[in-house]
């Protein structure tokens, strides 16, 4: 799909299965993989020019919400849109994620079309205003 071409996406997710899923579904994108929040922050420091971050919630070492809090606390990263993709699907979970600064919340299991629609909303090479 052209809508996701050229985007640089940081995927913070502990499931190898889901990493593979993104690799197949977001094939035109450049994906950077991290398996927990701590690794996600390290990858972000190495790749501050990412266009979107796809974030899981339940992860070892540092949860998705902790990661999100740290990203939004840093002025150089706060503009990067964060999309939460999680099995936590209760209304309060969604509200908590959006209040923490996520721009969208996708519940697992998800459809490829929904993922592409969300990722396609964010222009590539977004920078601070």
């Amino acid at each position: 799909m052209n809508v996701v071409k050229t985007r640089k996406v940081l995927v913070v997710e502990d499931s190898r299965l889901i990493h593979k899923m993104y690799e197949v579904m977001l094939r035109p994108c450049m994906l950077i993989a991290a398996h927990d929040g701590r690794e996600g922050l390290a990858r972000l420091d190495e790749n501050p020019d990412v266009d979107v971050i796809i974030l899981d919630i339940n992860m070892p070492h540092m949860t998705g919400l902790q990661f999100l809090g740290q990203v939004k606390a840093k002025p150089e990263y706060e503009h990067i849109p964060v999309v939460i993709v999680s099995t936590e699907g209760k209304e309060e979970d969604v509200a908590r994620g959006l209040q923490a600064g996520a721009v969208a919340y996708l519940k697992k299991p998800f459809q490829r079309e929904d993922l592409l629609k969300i990722i396609g909303r964010f222009a590539p090479k977004q920078g601070p205003a």
Binding site: L17, M21, M25, Q111, E113
Partner: protein, 250 residues
């Protein structure tokens, strides 16, 4: 063009190489996109022609209808591509390792992330002891068999699936199990994936989930079987190597 966009549904049910099917489906999506763009151009051209052309309105309506039809087909093909991708990734990941623990964790990941299972268990036959071990359990399953390490039998849905190797949906009288997926290798049932609860937002299992359940029944079992055989062989090899070293030293 209409023939081309109808093909994926037939191809997807034929089995074969999932990656090749996926590539073909992608090609069809691109063809459908090109056809939509053509139809849109045609509409724009017709609108930009000055003056009245006989039958212009009818052709315009036809072109609009064709565009809408193609857009709907494109959306359907896109959906099929997504579904095939899910099946491909599940198969790929199940066979990506020869470590039995990794295969088990992949089965769990498929259950949680692709099927939306909140509570489930993986039962596997131990050939040496001739029992069914509960190798994996996720969530607080409300069943008498969930409190033990060896499945004692007694759940009608699980017992029936284990006996005849047929996938069964519940709940039925005496069982709160939602689905039992028998894991079969060469017509022998070596275990079962038992799902007792889905995430609230998942709702229920649908026809597309059924395809994934069937895939799990066949591929999870063979992946587990292969990994167990490999790990046993590797263990024996290490023992033999140790013995040979000992003999050489002596």
């Amino acid at each position: 063009m209409s023939d081309a966009v109808q093909k994926p549904s037939r191809t997807s049910s034929e089995g074969g190489d999932p990656l090749a099917t996926l590539m073909r489906a992608r090609q069809l999506v691109h063809e459908a996109q090109a056809a939509i763009e053509e139809a849109q151009k045609s509409v724009v051209q017709q609108r930009s022609v000055p003056g009245e052309i006989p039958g212009q309105d009818v052709r315009l309506v036809q072109a609009e209808q064709e565009r809408e039809e193609l857009a709907a087909r494109l959306s359907e093909v896109e959906h099929q591509v997504g579904r095939l991708m899910t099946l491909y990734v599940a198969t790929y990941q199940l066979h990506a390792t020869l470590d039995p623990a990794d295969v088990q964790s992949t089965i769990a990941e498929i259950a949680v992330n692709m099927l939306g299972a909140e509570q489930f268990a993986l039962l596997l036959r131990d050939d040496e002891k001739d029992v069914l071990e509960i190798r994996l359990q996720e969530g607080a399953i409300d069943a008498s068999w969930s409190k033990v390490v060896i499945y004692p039998g007694g759940d009608p849905l699980i017992d029936a699936s284990l006996a005849d190797g047929v996938l069964r949906f519940g709940p039925v009288e005496g069982s709160n199990v939602l689905v039992t997926v028998p894991l079969r290798v060469q017509d022998i049932t070596v275990g079962a994936l038992v799902i007792t609860k889905l995430f609230d937002h998942k709702g229920k299992l649908d026809e597309e989930d059924r395809e994934l359940l069937d895939l799990l029944g066949a591929h999870a079992a063979s992946a587990l079987f292969a990994s167990r055989v490999y790990s046993r062989a590797a263990r024996k090899l290490r023992t033999l190597e140790g013995l040979i070293k000992l003999v050489r030293k002596g």
